[in-house]
């Protein structure tokens, strides 16, 4: 089982851009932005937040604990990590979680503005009504563009 070490934990919660991918009930791949990644104390579970309206097909299959893929990308350096594993649960975010998502979105907007993205466009990419997606990280990969893209990560050790 993959374990998220401190450095990767910090990276995931540093205002990175997040993508989530899943396979819907008809077998079609689906992709959406996700927000506010949060690494749990067990270093294996990660929560991200997705727009309810955009991810109905994910919620539909949630009870089957489908495999999901989540990619974390730092806009300035283009460093990118992909984590994969089963969806564990979905839930309504608390007020504290909503505030966390807001802070992470703001941090990402700052990062993207550093490379010239207009903040008003970035802010238009998200919606307020989000739900929480918890998943277990079974595998992680270096997704940074370059010859090592796709290399499995062993940070924190592999069981």
């Amino acid at each position: 089982m993959f374990s998220i070490d401190d450095e990767l934990h910090e990276f995931c919660e540093s205002g990175v851009a997040v993508l989530i991918g899943w396979v819907d009930a008809t077998g079609h791949p689906r992709v959406s932005y996700a927000w506010g990644p949060r690494v749990h104390p067990d270093a294996r579970t990660v929560s991200v937040y997705v727009e309810r309206e955009r991810c109905t097909s994910l919620v539909e299959v949630a009870a089957t604990r489908p495999q999901i893929a989540v990619t974390f990308t730092e806009p300035v350096s283009a460093r990118s990590i992909q984590m994969k594993g089963p969806l564990l649960d979905t839930g309504e975010p608390t007020e504290a979680e909503r505030a966390w998502v807001t802070r992470q979105r703001d941090a990402m907007t700052v990062s993207t503005s550093l490379i010239g993205d207009p903040p008003h466009i970035i802010r238009n990419l998200w919606m307020d009504d989000v739900i929480r997606i918890d998943f277990e990280v079974e595998r992680a990969f270096d997704q940074t563009p370059g010859p090592n893209a796709g290399r499995p990560l062993v940070a924190g050790g592999v069981a």
């Binding site: 993508l19 992709v31 955009r54 990619t71 283009a78 994969k84 010239g116 563009p145 370059g146």
Partner: protein, 459 residues
């Protein structure tokens, strides 16, 4: 094989800016084990109303997945509004050659060269996918009023530019029309034209607009950097988000910013975000390139690229015609006017280095190459014979200049020389007096020193 699918909810034609690469696109595929894989794509290129092309560089897993399961979904962003769209895709084939592959390869190679990552960024293939559905993603109301595409250029506007190109009297006028057209039709305030030298080894800047330093006379080798590669491959290169593309290329080396003493920096903006480099071709021959720049992301769209390509071809053809018509001009007797009154200021030391034909004025670099050789000969005639007026024809016949057989660059060299003189001193001028004839105006005494002669003298 294209399958018959229902009409798209959103036509690809209606969202052209989604395929400009301003905001990176996301792609999700499915592996053999049923697990999804999600990553960013550098290029989603619209091929036609039902097909897109995806660049294949590093995405091993995405590539494996699409070979086994042809289904994928891509999410694209319309930068002007912030609207998002999903494209459901079905992989059809991979192309590793052909016009589309070459076009995408040139773009990636140019960015890689620009960022010093030339050997890392090789395009392995272009995946052609059928679009089975395109849908608007639920979201906030679209942003409006910022970055909206400009109104399309009318045929009447294009015709007016064509007429001005056809009516241009000389190369300088033609280049002026060209840069004005870039401003008026594309809305570009910063542009420059580089012409290919006779051996097709170098490009040199001959005209520019909208820069603090004109960059006239600056050079770049064919194949070097983004501009040089576009010229060498005779392919337009359009970058819509320079910072992101360079970051994506893990920029480790930016183009040199400190020029050598005898190098003139290219025209440059403080923070270029968009760049369009379009080759100027006449009868398949490279005449030069035009470079359009902006500090705004996504400033140049696909339609702009087409438009500039059309105008660049017209200008290149017009240049060829101008040369032909000037061949017979300038044959009138050239006067050998002696100076009425000698200049009275302190003499300027003009030093000439034959090995690269570079010319220095009071130890300040001015110009080199063919233009430097021309200036040296003109000043020799001026000092030795008191001549002020010259013809293009006599320069072409001057074997000591060793001008190549291809003559179409002589006028460009004279423009280059004139502009450099205007920028670097106030006592030497080249003024056109008639078609194919010009005058050398000198308002300071001249002292000519050739390094060859001084070397000989010192031995």
């Amino acid at each position: 094989m294209t399958t018959a699918f229902a009409p798209l909810e959103v036509s690809l034609d209606s969202i052209p800016s989604c395929f400009e690469g301003v905001v990176p696109s996301a792609i999700c595929t499915v592996g053999e084990d049923g697990a999804p894989n999600v990553t960013y794509l550098s290029i989603v290129h619209r091929v036609d109303e039902r097909h897109v092309a995806l660049s294949r560089q590093f995405f091993k897993k995405t590539d494996e997945n699409t070979q086994r399961n042809p289904l994928a979904q891509v999410e694209v962003v319309e930068v002007a509004t912030g609207r998002m769209f999903t494209l459901d895709l079905k992989y059809e084939r991979t192309e590793t050659e052909g016009p589309l592959f070459e076009r995408m390869r040139t773009h990636l190679d140019a960015v890689a060269l620009h960022s010093g990552m030339a050997n890392v960024f090789a395009l392995k293939g272009v995946d052609i996918c059928e679009v089975t559905q395109c849908s608007l993603v639920p979201g906030k109301p679209p942003v409006s009023g910022t970055g909206d595409p400009a109104a399309p250029v009318s045929l009447a506007q294009l015709e007016a530019v064509s007429q001005r190109i056809a009516a241009a009297d000389d190369l300088e006028d033609l280049l002026h029309v060209f840069l004005e057209a870039c401003r008026d039709l594309v809305g570009c305030e910063h542009a420059f034209v580089m012409l290919a030298d006779e051996r097709h080894e170098q490009l040199y800047t001959v005209a520019s607009v909208g820069y603090g330093d004109s960059g006239t006379g600056s050079e770049i080798a064919l194949g070097e950097g983004l501009i040089g590669l576009a010229a060498a491959r005779r392919q337009s290169v359009r970058v819509t988000h320079m910072t992101r593309e360079l970051r994506y290329a893990q920029a480790t080396r930016l183009p040199a910013t400190a020029a050598d003493e005898d190098e003139i920096p290219l025209p440059a903006l403080a923070a270029t975000q968009s760049q369009l480099v379009t080759p100027m071709l006449s009868r398949h021959q490279l005449v030069g390139v035009v470079v359009l720049e902006s500090e705004r992301i996504g400033a140049f769209q696909s339609a702009d690229e087409c438009l500039v390509g059309i105008i660049a071809s017209q200008v290149a053809s017009a240049m060829t015609l101008l040369v032909s018509s000037h061949e017979s001009a300038g044959e009138a007797e050239v006067t050998s006017d002696a100076l009425d009154a000698g200049p009275i200021a302190a003499p300027v030391v003009v030093k000439y280095y034959p090995e690269d034909e570079s010319v220095f004025l009071d130890n300040e670099y001015l110009i080199k190459g063919v233009a430097g050789g021309i200036l040296w000969r003109l000043l020799r005639h001026y000092v030795d014979e008191g001549r002020e007026e010259f013809s293009n024809r006599e320069l072409r016949l001057d074997t000591s200049l060793a001008l190549p057989d291809i003559k179409d660059n002589l006028e460009a060299r004279l423009i280059l020389l004139r502009k450099r003189l205007e920028e670097r001193c106030d006592y030497l001028r080249i003024e056109k007096v008639a078609r194919g004839r010009f005058r050398l105006d000198v308002s300071r005494p001249i002292s000519l020193v050739s390094s060859e002669e001084s070397d000989a003298a010192s031995h």
